[in-house]
């Protein structure tokens, strides 16, 4: 898979999966439509942020990720989409570099930065005679240098817990859209 090709062994990460009784072709299209208010923890945040920033939450989450600096690093049609970005753990309001492709992400080496890649992976899988798709939401994050990597490790327990809840909620929202009876 593309994720394994790009992330180093030292990257921290997690993967969350959910089986859906639909063909892979339905999944990517629907995945891109999920709105922020379909994710409970984001919905809560929106209640606070919306009065101050009315535009927040008006676009699907996937679109907001692209707006936030994630770029598509690679795809395997109907199997995997890989998104990636470079950022800083500290100084979050500082302008951040935008990397356009996998090579740029690989080559980026400014100390203090971290690289994050997200993969949406699909695998055809039959369960109890029903053809479906195993959808996996996987994340890898690593520091450009040793200092950034140490910071990542310190922050990881919180990030891991938050990321797990977020990924699970996204997959549940996807399930709700694709299997209305579930």
């Amino acid at each position: 898979m593309l994720l394994e090709q790009i992330a180093p062994d030292t990257a921290l990460g997690r993967a969350d999966s959910r089986w859906l009784p639909v063909p892979p072709g339905s999944v990517f299209a629907e995945l891109q439509k999920i709105m922020p208010d379909e994710i409970p923890m984001v919905k809560l945040g929106l209640r606070v942020a919306k009065p101050l920033m009315p535009f927040v939450g008006d676009k699907p989450l996937y679109a907001q990720m692209l707006d936030a600096g994630f770029a598509v690093m690679g795809v395997m049609p109907l199997r995997e989409v890989l998104l990636g970005r470079v950022g800083k753990l500290t100084g979050v309001f500082a302008p951040e570099p935008r990397v356009r492709d996998k090579r740029a992400l690989n080559e980026y080496a400014v100390p203090g930065h971290v690289k994050t890649v997200l993969a949406f992976q699909l695998a055809q899988e039959e369960r109890d005679g029903v053809k479906g798709t195993l959808v996996t939401f996987a994340v890898r994050i690593w520091g450009v240098d040793a200092k950034a990597q140490r910071l990542i490790k310190l922050a990881w327990p919180v990030g891991n817990a938050f990321g797990g809840k977020f990924a699970s909620a996204w997959l549940v929202a996807l399930d709700r859209r694709l299997s209305p009876t579930s």
Partner: protein, 487 residues
């Protein structure tokens, strides 16, 4: 009487006489319906399909083959009401022979089904489908010919075909290429005269395809894209033309500002302020090969004086991620417009003239376009060795039975009950025809000829007489898709 014979041959459940169902199966997306078939049949095997053709022929009733139904040139619309329409979508067998690099697919297999089945075995067809591949079938696509995914490297659907199996009017099944050898298999298109070509792009006029043999390649494990923004179509096209000749990109296409507006709503905000965008997708066995090609394309796209600047390549990659979802987006516009493409196939040198001609045509019709809320967008795409220039005409109208069944639920909920807008429809279809004639006057040819493009009038008489003679040899009573190709 024919109904009884058909029921006996393929089962009563697969013989459809309900009026609404027959209408759904008989009309394509063109908004220019012809007749409604008297009977729709859904054979479940090549043998059943051959039996249907034989029974209809014995009783002197025309047959029309239909694939996924997502076409817009009346290719499967019956020209006479007394027609047996053959829905091929129950024919679903796929036989993958990775060792010989060939796959045999039933006519009713969709390109998405074929891609999923082959990619699970680590292979894929070189051209791997049209944007509408969630619905478009192998049989329908080979009858119409088409391009997009992989076409920059490998050409059209016709170019990857090594053999066909076709049911003739007498019920006999004809095979082509090395597949026709008594002890053979479909590894090569060529064994004596190239009979395969006769049936590619015939829009179902010469026989009914039951199975096709297509080439296979190893699944490319690396891919990347690179995109550029330009102020004018001419600048974007100059770069596209230069890159196309190298044959190193799998997909090459230009989008216009109206397409950008659609994609900005989907999150591609970097298209804000971009007039014309040029996109290349590159694939290969590893990153080193892909990166080298991307560097060459980057050099072309940003050549000094060429007017190009590099932009985020997320758009072509997102299209590849869900390659066959594009057909869905094309059904109904966000404001309830139906969208109908009209294209010309041109040598590279003629495309700028075609684009200027269409822009002038639009300017001459601007009053009507504004008054009736018509819109026109452009897609320019490359297949190996030449270019397809495709304006898309949009107008507000009722969405018709095909869109009502297959468009996204939210679009159907919003626009499913919109009444026909006959004035806008007349203007929209008229503009499409004017564009088609303009393209023909510039020497443009067409894929998906069907019963809509001016094939007969555009051909030299001696050539058309030869095509008619071939039709007569296969179908002397003109009972296979009469009217297709003007025959």
């Amino acid at each position: 009487m024919i109904t009884d014979a058909l029921r006996a041959a393929i089962g009563a459940a697969n013989v459809i006489e309900d009026a609404a169902e027959r209408e759904y199966y008989s009309w394509d997306l063109s908004q220019e319906p012809l007749q409604v078939a008297e009977i729709v049949v859904r054979p479940g095997s090549a043998e059943e399909l051959a039996a249907v053709v034989r029974i209809a022929h014995e009783q002197g009733i025309p047959v029309v083959p239909r694939g996924g139904g997502i076409s817009y040139t009346q290719g499967f619309e019956p020209s006479v009401a007394e027609t047996v329409l053959i829905d091929t979508t129950r024919l679903k067998t796929i036989e993958i022979n990775a060792e010989d690099s060939v796959v045999i697919a039933d006519a009713g297999v969709t390109w998405e089904e074929l891609y999923l089945a082959t990619s699970a075995e680590g292979v894929r067809t070189p051209y791997f489908g049209p944007l509408s591949g969630r619905f478009a079938t192998v049989g329908g696509t080979l009858s119409q010919n088409s391009l997009f995914y992989g076409s920059g490297l490998y050409g059209t659907s016709a170019d990857i075909t090594t053999g066909l199996e076709v049911a003739g009017v007498d019920g006999k099944v004809l095979r082509t290429g090395s597949w026709a050898h008594r002890n053979g298999s479909p590894f090569s298109r060529y064994y004596g005269p190239d009979l395969t070509s006769l049936f590619l792009g015939d829009t179902g006029a010469l026989g009914v395809k039951t199975r096709a043999a297509l080439k296979l390649i190893p699944l490319p494990m690396a891919n990347q894209a690179v995109s550029f923004a330009y102020d004018t179509f001419e600048q974007a096209y100059a770069a596209l033309h230069e890159a196309a000749k190298l044959e190193i990109a799998a997909e090459l296409f230009i989008f216009d500002p109206a397409n950008h507006a659609i994609y900005r709503k989907l999150g591609f905000s970097f298209l804000e302020g971009v007039e014309w965008s040029l996109h290349f997708t590159v694939e290969g066995i590893d990153d080193a090969i892909v990166d080298a090609s991307v560097d060459i394309l980057r050099g072309i796209g940003t050549r000094p004086g060429g007017g190009g600047r590099e932009i985020d390549p997320s758009l072509p990659l997102a299209m590849r991620a869900d390659p066959f979802g594009g057909g869905l987006r094309g059904f109904v516009g966000s404001e309830g417009h139906v969208r109908l493409p009209v294209h010309g196939v041109f040598p590279f040198s003629k495309v700028p003239a075609a684009q200027r001609g269409v822009v002038d045509l639009i300017a001459r019709n601007q009053d009507v376009i504004d008054r009736l809320d018509l819109r026109i967008t452009f897609l320019t795409a490359i297949t190996r060795g030449y270019c397809v220039f495709e304006p898309v005409v949009w107008w507000p109208d009722s969405i018709g039975p095909y869109r009502a069944r297959h468009a996204p639920e939210d679009a159907v909920a919003r626009f499913g009950s919109v009444p026909p807008n006959l004035e806008a429809r007349a203007a929209g279809t008229g503009l499409r025809r004017e564009i088609a004639l303009l393209m023909s006057s510039l020497g443009g040819t067409h894929l998906q000829v069907g019963k809509w493009y001016p094939y007969r009038d555009s051909l030299e008489p001696a050539t058309y007489e030869t095509v008619a003679a071939v039709k007569h040899a296969f179908d002397p009573r003109r009972l296979v898709n009469p009217g297709s190709l003007g025959l």
